[in-house]
């Protein structure tokens, strides 16, 4: 009886771990060139604020060529396969946003792929 209870307990404890292991971590494709403007842990947390701050300066004050730029994000992080950051579930922006269940609406207006040269 005691043995059965112990087994049940072990099974119960193991279950959540099993469920978590079943969720795919986002695929993070390597950027195409050079280092980013900030370390990855800063970018992961701060990039929405950075972009939101910059959009006001760029649109209203006409400041271009700033360090923070969605266009530059896209230029470096566009996938080699799809050429985009948000075309497929594996693409850089889309994979994390799908994992975190945060709706990504930047690319309803902004281009999700770099300009063709």
């Amino acid at each position: 009886m005691r043995l059965l209870a112990a087994l049940a307990l072990i099974a119960a404890l193991a279950l959540p771990a099993g469920v978590l292991a079943g969720v795919d971590k986002p695929v993070i494709e390597k950027a195409q060139s050079g280092p980013c403007i900030a370390p990855p842990e800063v970018m992961r947390r701060e990039h929405p604020d950075m972009l939101k701050h910059q959009r006001v300066e760029t649109v209203h004050q006409g400041i271009v060529g700033a360090k923070v730029s969605l266009e530059k994000c896209v230029a470096c992080h566009a996938s080699k396969q799809t050429g985009s950051v948000a075309a497929s579930k594996q693409d850089f922006c889309e994979s994390c946003h799908a994992y975190a269940a945060v709706k990504l609406d930047c690319f309803e207006c902004h281009a999700s792929r770099p300009e063709k040269q």
Partner: protein
Amino acid sequence: MTSRREFLSKAAVLGGIAVAPGLILFEPARAKGASSKVRWGMLVDTTRCAEGCSACVSACNRENGLSGGTRPTDSQWIRKVELREKATGRTLSLPVMCQHCAEPPCVDVCPTGASFKRADGIVLVDRHICIGCRYCMMACPYKARSFVHRPLHDQKPDVPRGQGCVESCTLCVQRVDRGEQPACVEACKAEGGDALLFGDLNDPQSGVSRRMRERGARQIRADLQLDTGVRYQGI
């Protein structure tokens, strides 16, 4: 290591100063942003604007990624308007776009602050804030604004546009900030029309100011006292 674009813009500024102070029409705003010292404007010489020519319209569509459709639900940033004076039969052809008013009615009526005038006089829509109510379209006496009715794909990286927002001529703000001329002006020149002239209305030495001083210019619906940035000759 400066990028090619930065190098070129610096070279353009230095080169312009070196050639002659009067010749350089404008310097790129870039990091400083839009300055209230300048007021961008355009001068349309209707006597040089050929009937049936729509080079400016197609250049605008190409530059800004517009479909080029002319249905009421399609975005049109420039329209070619053909006029005929009844009494004399004189015909006239002219492009009409956002007039970049100094007192823009679209900005007055915007409930969210999305419609705004930049320090350098360019009237824009901040699509991040636009809720698509279209009051500005009602308020504009020039029918200059369009509403995007359907989802868009493959926008130009420099010209973000999307469903549910109002938009209009930006005087090619992305090009102006790089120190270039609007696409329509360049296209008109390339076509040999030379009917469009872009420059700083505040600078008495600029091409637009000089030509306006010599030959005068009128505003469309000047009675509304909106002090438009786009002026016309020959109307």
